[in-house]
Amino acid sequence: MWSFRRKNLILSFALLMSVFLTSCSVNSKGTGPGDSVDSAESGNSAESANGSEVISSAVDFDHELDGYEPKKDHYNFYFTYKTVHPWWDAVALGMEDAQRQYHDKGITITYEYMAPEAASAEDQKERLRAAESKDFDVIGVDVADADIISPILDEMVDSGYKVMTFSSSDAHEGCKRIAYVGNTHNYEDGADLTEALCKKLDYKGKVAILVGSVGAPCHEERAAGAKDTIAKYSDMEIVATEYDMDSVDLAYDLTLKILEENPDLDGIICCNMSNPVGAARAVKEKGHDAVIVGMDHDQEALHYLKDGVIYCLGVQDCYSIGFDTIQIAVKIADGNQPGELFKEKTDEITTVIYQEDAAVMLELLYGED
């Protein structure tokens, strides 16, 4: 009898653990707020340990072109993005993979992929105006500032240019751009990371937000998600919100300043790829114990994650963003509109990873063992 009970107990425990672990480290793929998976809720360090398979598929390097038959044998695109930064280099690699696959099919894809050294909507505006004068099949934009760029895109579309948005930031809702490929759930990503932080802090404490570039939709949306999440908990307080302009150095300086002004700071929410690096450098340098949550796959940030300086990171699948951008650009160039061939918004996944996932991600992305 005792043995039977013990067996039942073990089986029940195993079943419980299976259900529990299966829910861990789930990709966030949002077609809307409701679809955004609660990776932050499920994701404390211990819980995500089983998710190495999921972590390994956080970035999909194994792409093949869909069955669409392009109408031309040569396409020429222009893409502009926010700033020269490794995150967009990762997107470029996905683009180059698609370009190679088209080349193998006898279709030549040429393109420009340009950005300023520092994020600037004005610079982007100038680039778009310059691109208008050239014969590009499609112009793709990672919107630097939705307020400034959205009207420009509308004008371009009205003028007959085929315009799409891609990678991190879409234009304002209602913009006439043809399609968007990239992260459609920045708000949810910000909320998920903040939820993970709140849980880690036991839902009480002082936090700071490093937003990124002023007006950059993805950064602003994540910050909004973070603020709304903090607002849910009465014992949580935002003591500082700063714009680091997607600069590691600026993020570092701002973090030092925040720590100096708020020595009892409990957490930092980082809304882009640069600021978790800057924040981690400062926190480590000061020997502070503020919990850092942030975005993306910067190699240094992953090492901070591995070392426990950063608590968790939301990793976007940049490679797939780049690959899908080229595929959809070809379809747009051929005169297709969103519908059966492609969605108006092609969303890409974000995976929240923790300390024990860092090694897998470093190997996956950078070949580190």
Binding site: A90, M95, Y111, E117, L364
Partner: protein
């Protein structure tokens, strides 16, 4: 004093010597096999080290040549572009496509002053993507590897373009990117993948992601070897890597000894590391050694068996020989004994033989083991006179004639010459039963001889009585009777001293 070697000593010496000889052969064979194995191992180790060093050196040169060749082609490409009078980006892309096919330059790219990268198909801002395009590196030749976001490692060769202008725009540098896996394939082609190798950075990082044997695998070389080799060796090799000095490391991992050699690759700060699993070689050698040892064992067993059989046969033959000798010795002894018991003149048994026979009969008389026994005593008449008058030869002839006569008549008895002219006959069984007839016949013959002046013998005899204790008792009675007979014969005309 001269010491004689006995047969036993000889046999013992032969056996001991044979055993020592066999043991020596076996021990020498085993030691020789082991020495051969050890010597072979050492030789192979030395040869494999030499082989590894040569292999590492050759591969390092292959990489160096690849790098130099690419730099050379890059110079030619820039010169070609400069001379083409290119006016637009489309023309530039087309020209770069031509260059790619003409010079086999992988991913050849130009970089302008704004660090915008121009390739055959794309133009992109590459400041963050290519670390080798930093301001401090752009004005000199630069060799590096990059591993960006999931892409395989790339060997990047960058070089300044020296005042290149295209359509009025200055270009500052050019570069090519070569997939490290292509270099690995090129190097692996060299020996069909028989050895493990890898290109390592000076801090021990594996740049080629090749597996350097099962233990080090693709890990950082010095992380993997930490604790496996001594701290001094570890530090020495670490220094070698930092200072681009070639060397080798032998280590024991998972029970197998492995050796790797490293050689600096010219024009880079990398090391070409080649490893061959000595365990593989040693397994092969061990296999060969085991075969050799097995052959030696068979040889030993054969030798041992052969020796045992040989010594067995030898011993058998020696035993047979010994037995034969023993038999001959017995025969000789018998002959000697016979000679000692035989009278040389008459050929019959002598006094010594009679004494032995007497002793044997005495034992039987004492044991009451004999009933039919008679002793005949014979004395040759006139021997002294013949000797004195006719010489000893005539005397000897007389003795022989007497002996022949006695033997003739007492053919069923044992005849002994017990003195110069005295004979004794021992009669038992048949001889005893016919004694009276024989005595009668011989006496008649003797009496005839007196007339013919031939040999005359005085004969007396006596039979065993219950009172007799010794043969001597019978003999004395026979002797007395013989004297009486001698008197009678004298009276009949026989010559005698009486």
């Amino acid at each position: 004093m001269k010491k004689h070697i006995t047969k036993k000593q000889f046999i013992i010496t032969a056996i001991v010597g044979g055993i020592i000889m066999m043991a020596t052969v076996i021990i020498n064979t085993i030691m020789s096999t082991r020495q051969t194995t050890t010597a072979t191992n050492e030789a192979v180790s030395e040869v494999s080290s030499f082989y590894l060093e040569a292999m590492a050196d050759r591969r390092a040169k292959t990489v160096t040549n690849l790098i130099r060749s690419n730099f050379d082609h890059m110079d030619k490409a820039v010169e070609y572009i400069s001379n083409e009078g290119i006016e637009s980006q489309d023309e530039l892309r087309h020209t770069m496509g031509s260059i790619k096919s003409m010079l086999s330059l992988n991913r050849f790219a130009l970089v302008d002053d704004d660090k915008v990268v121009y390739t055959q198909y794309t133009t992109y801002t590459g400041g963050s993507r290519h670390p080798f395009l930093s301001d401090e590196n752009m004005d000199k030749q630069n060799v590096s590897t990059v591993s960006l976001y999931g892409s395989s490692k790339q060997l990047c060769l960058a070089a300044p373009t020296h005042d290149l202008e295209i359509a009025g725009k200055p270009y500052r540098a050019c570069f090519v990117q070569i997939d490290v896996s292509e270099i690995v394939d090129l190097l692996a082609f060299d020996d069909d993948g028989r050895t493990n190798f890898g290109i390592y950075s000076k801090n021990g990082e594996n740049l080629t992601e090749t597996e350097l044997g099962p233990y080090i695998s693709h890990h950082n070389l010095f992380d993997a070897l930490n604790g496996v080799i001594s701290e001094d060796d570890w530090n020495e090799n670490r220094e070698n890597f930092l200072n681009a000095v070639e060397g080798s490391i032998t280590f024991n991992a998972n029970g197998a000894e492995e050796t790797l050699c490293y050689v600096p690759i010219e024009d880079t700060d990398w090391m070409m590391v080649v490893l061959i699993r000595e365990s593989v070689i040693q397994d092969r050698i061990r296999s060969i050694s085991e075969k050799s040892l097995s052959a030696s064992k068979r040889h030993i067993v054969f030798t041992l068996s052969y020796s045992i059989i040989f010594f067995g046969v030898l011993m058998f033959m020696m035993k047979a020989l010994f037995n034969k000798d023993l038999q001959e010795e017995k025969e000789n002894s018998k002959t000697f004994r016979s000679m000692a018991s035989t009278d040389s003149l008459t050929g019959i048994r002598n006094k010594h033989a009679y004494t032995e026979a007497e002793s044997a009969l005495n034992r039987r008389i004492m044991e009451k083991d004999i009933e039919k026994l008679a002793i005949v005593v014979c004395d040759v008449n006139g021997l002294k006179i013949v000797n004195d008058t006719q010489g000893h030869a005539a005397g000897d002839k007389l003795i022989k004639d007497a002996s022949s006569m006695i033997c003739e008549y007492f053919s069923r008895g044992a005849v002994f010459r017990i003195g110069g002219d005295e004979f004794a006959v021992i009669l038992q069984d048949k001889g005893y039963e016919t004694i009276h007839e024989v005595i009668t016949e011989i006496n008649r013959a003797i009496e005839e001889n007196i007339k013919k002046k031939e040999v005359v013998i005085s004969i007396g005899y006596s039979e065993l009585t219950p009172e007799d204790k010794l043969v001597r008792d019978i003999f004395e009675r026979a002797d007395q009777m013989m004297y009486k007979r001698k008197q009678q014969l004298k009276l009949m005309g026989a010559q005698t001293r009486l």
